[in-house]
């Protein structure tokens, strides 16, 4: 794609970029912790920046990298705002990715719902940087080199963040296992 020269070119380029990258931006925002009800606004924020900065963008660089960087900034900004808002209101932070109600229609859906909740809890325990590396690598299926390029950080930094994120993930799952074990023992004891 070449640099758009006119307003019409710019709009056409923007539409093309939007079509090609909307799903990626959406997934990224979701995995970076934007909750369902805010996803529309966050995606709009991302692509407003894309539209505004399009004339300055160097088309020699990968657009996906640029868009992911914008997603990170939007997620970071919204994360700060959410924390401030909850502090003001005195509420506990809202758990991210409350995707399905706990009362699922069938066992399979309920299990999926529980696992998503576990994933969300584990991701929430990570810093945004760790979360970005972990989700890009483990969920988006990118290689370490691709993650390094997307985030604009050295490869060893990616490896380090991934290691820490995995530790957090595993601790979170271990807590879940321990709670389940405790519940089973308690129920057995009561019997």
């Amino acid at each position: 794609m070449t640099r758009p020269e006119s307003h019409v070119d710019r709009l056409a380029s923007f539409e093309l970029i939007y079509r090609q990258h909307f799903a990626f931006a959406w997934r990224s925002l979701r995995r970076l912790g934007i909750c369902e009800r805010d996803l529309n606004d966050a995606a709009q924020d991302v692509f407003l920046v894309v539209y505004r900065k399009l004339p300055e963008f160097d088309f020699e660089h990968p657009i996906g990298t640029w868009i992911y960087a914008i997603c990170l900034r939007v997620a970071s900004s919204r994360r700060r705002s959410a924390v401030q808002r909850h502090e003001q209101l005195g509420d506990a932070p809202e758990p991210l990715e409350k995707l399905e109600p706990a009362l699922a229609a069938d066992a399979e859906t309920q299990q999926l719902s529980e696992r998503r909740a576990l994933l969300a809890a584990a991701l929430d325990a990570m810093s945004l940087e760790q979360r970005a590396v972990f989700t890009l690598f483990e969920l988006e299926g990118r290689t370490g080199e691709e993650v390094a390029e997307l985030l604009g950080v050295p490869a060893p930094t990616v490896a380090s963040r991934l290691r820490l994120a995995r530790e957090i993930f595993r601790r979170s799952i271990e807590r879940h296992r321990a709670r389940e074990h405790f519940e089973l023992r308690r129920m057995g004891g009561e019997r």
Binding site: L39, D41, A43, R116, E145, I173
Partner: protein, 281 residues
């Protein structure tokens, strides 16, 4: 780096529970309608925001004054929870008002805008819900109005592209008024009524700006309201104003899409007749 293995690989050291949890997070693509929905909002913003930047500073003082001019009588109505009526008064939909008035005027005292009172028959919808039905033809930016069945409000043609580019703000978000302009409901411990009050004032301001032809100001006011009230009490009224604004600013296709979605979602809304003028049969 290349020795890193994905945990979803069978040969990794992740156990089955860990893999199953990761697999549960793989499905994160947006529903198909979301792309069109966000695009429609984007086009509205991209088309009108430059105007907002151009005129916002000059109009800020008068807009503020207009926003502050809410009558005491309106506050009384808010206090008794007549958000439905307030919404009617805000939008000023003559046909809708007449229709509802004829049905309900015998039961209720007149509101500040000579409107009858009635409870809201349906709970207010969230803003994001209303847009979900946007059609898949949303990728059609800035069409000119059709000449055949032009509704009564005359669309204002967007400025020429060269002017629009010259006037484009460096930062669209910063060109919009701060949500602090309507910040009463943002206070800790504020009630639902205070949100209704704040929404009412914002929408009244937007309506006045729209009717005065200050499209950029109206857009800025509506956008600030949208950002402040994620779960609005007066969603229908805000959407009806936005549809009219889109039409008047030359975004006819976007106005039609949103109007059609509105009519499908709220077939019994008091704003139906007004919104229908912007829809495509």
């Amino acid at each position: 780096m290349s020795e890193l293995k994905h945990w979803l690989d069978d040969s990794s050291d992740a156990d089955e529970l860990e893999r199953s949890i990761l697999r549960a997070g793989l499905e994160a693509d947006p529903p198909p309608a979301k792309r069109d929905e966000v695009w429609t909002s984007l086009m509205a913003t991209v088309a009108v925001a430059p105007l907002a930047a151009a005129t916002l500073s000059a109009q800020a003082a008068s807009a503020q004054a207009a926003g502050a001019g809410v009558s005491k009588a309106a506050a009384v109505w808010l206090t008794v929870g007549k958000g439905f009526l307030v919404g009617l008064a805000i939008y000023g939909a003559a046909e809708g008002v007449t229709e509802i008035s004829s049905r309900l005027s015998s039961r209720h005292a007149p509101a500040p805008s000579a409107l009858p009172a009635a409870p809201r028959t349906k709970p207010p919808a969230r803003a994001t819900d209303g847009d979900a039905e946007a059609s898949s033809t949303a990728f059609a930016p800035s069409p000119t109005p059709a000449s055949g069945d032009t509704p009564s409000p005359r669309p204002t043609r967007p400025r020429s592209s060269s002017n629009a580019q010259e006037r484009e703000p460096q930062n669209v978000a910063s060109a919009l008024p701060s949500v602090a302009a309507f910040d009463e409901s943002a206070r800790p411990g504020s009630t639902r009524l205070s949100q209704l009050d704040a929404e009412t004032r914002a929408l009244r301001r937007a309506r006045d700006e729209l009717r005065a032809g200050k499209l950029a100001d109206a857009f800025a006011t509506l956008e600030a309201s949208r950002r402040q009230f994620a779960a609005p009490e007066l969603y229908q009224e805000r959407e009806a104003l936005m549809i009219e604004l889109l039409y008047r600013s030359g975004q006819v296709a976007a106005a039609e899409q949103r109007a059609n979605a509105f009519l499908g979602r709220f077939p019994e809304s008091p704003h139906v007749q007004q919104v229908r003028r912007f829809s495509r049969p």
